[in-house]
């Protein structure tokens, strides 16, 4: 079974939640879904991140019983639902709160579906609706998700994987997406702009990893974006 087939099967299984208004697919599978024909060749992780706006939490919670035939809540990590079949990916719920500061995080506590709400996700906005074999799912606008990936502090292999997601977004971005990303970058405060630039330099130096897309052919595009964001805002001394 290919990764694409597993991803599509997971989307089918999680459809009741994914089609709930406000819910977005976020994270590493977005570049895969945005590739032509949702080709899913940019594999960096084996899970499906589902962004749940805190205002939609109650509605999403009502749909959870429909997922139980395919997934079960992890006893270790309450926001993770593990698949009952190896043909499905793990599902990871994350909270989205547009009013939150990008540098903050909090827990939206709930006995059934608690959520970690990462402030950087406040940078995302609803984008394209995609038809994945009959499931209507929504992904964020590329600009905001790219910025979210670049503003977040990460370390180690997980950090590299997340930066590869940013690279995947960069590969699928159109000029207008990059214009929008630079505009949103300018509105960040200086410390967060610095984080974006620092992460772009890290992305430009990541080596190839087995089983993951090779970032090296994209180095010129990374350098071009770095130059654009630097030119877009004057930094304090």
């Amino acid at each position: 079974m290919t990764f694409r087939e597993r991803l599509f099967a997971t989307i089918r299984a999680a459809r009741p939640v994914l089609e709930e208004p406000g819910v977005l697919v976020v994270g590493s599978e977005v570049p895969n879904l945005l590739e032509s024909g949702a080709a899913s060749t940019l594999v960096v992780s084996q899970d499906l991140d589902i962004g749940v706006p805190v205002a939609c939490h109650a509605a999403v919670k009502r749909r959870l019983p429909e997922l139980l035939q395919y997934f079960e809540p992890s006893p270790d990590e309450p926001s993770v639902w593990t698949p009952r079949s190896p043909q499905l990916l793990e599902v990871n719920f994350v909270g989205v709160d547009a009013s939150q500061d990008p540098a903050e995080a909090y827990v939206f506590d709930d006995d059934q579906l608690p959520l970690l709400v990462f402030g950087a996700l406040s940078l995302i906005e609803p984008g394209a609706e995609l038809d994945i074999e009959g499931s209507r799912i929504r992904v964020p606008r590329v600009a905001g998700l790219l910025l979210e990936k670049l503003v977040t502090d990460r370390t180690g292999e997980k950090g590299d994987r997340d930066l590869l997601v940013a690279m995947g977004l960069l590969m699928t971005a159109a000029s207008a997406d990059l214009d929008e990303c630079v505009g949103a970058y300018r509105r960040l405060r200086p410390e967060l702009r610095h984080a974006v630039r620092a992460n772009l330099t890290l992305l430009s130096l990541i080596d190839a990893r087995a089983g993951m897309p090779d970032p090296r052919p994209q180095r010129a595009a990374v350098a071009a974006l770095l130059r654009r964001v630097e030119a877009s805002a004057e930094e304090p001394r």
Binding site: P78, A105, L205, A223, A224
Partner: protein, 123 residues
């Protein structure tokens, strides 16, 4: 709140504190790695060269990257057009990453990227 969430929140806040520290230090010694990465990010290729070759390039007026002098031991990092590097028999390509080959070279030549390629996703 679950112990896992508590741990992840703690880790996230620690990362933010470290980032804030790094931001405050950006003009100082701690920021040297970012400045080095920034210079490398603009390079499409890198070569280790002898000190004599590097000095010759400086004498020709090619740009020296100041971040090299901030390292200990210092590095001579010179940015040079691709055409000029092709004439240097002793220039040994090194991978552009924070790895041993690049960090161990006392003298580096960087070749900047050419004009930005069009975005693959343009339509």
């Amino acid at each position: 709140m679950s112990a896992v969430f508590e741990r992840r929140l703690r880790e996230q806040r620690a990362r933010v504190l470290i980032r804030t520290h790094g931001y405050r230090q950006r003009r100082h010694a701690h920021g040297v790695w970012l400045r080095l990465r920034r210079v490398l990010a603009d390079a499409g290729a890198a070569y280790a060269v002898s000190e004599a070759d590097a000095r010759a390039l400086v004498a020709e007026g090619h740009a020296v990257q100041p971040v090299g002098a901030e390292l200990d031991p210092p590095k001579l990092i010179v940015t040079v057009p691709a055409d000029r590097v092709r004439t240097m028999a002793g220039a040994a390509p090194v991978p552009i990453r924070m790895g041993g080959d690049l960090l161990a070279a006392p003298c580096l030549v960087l070749v900047p990227f050419g004009p930005a390629p069009p975005q693959s996703g343009d339509h």
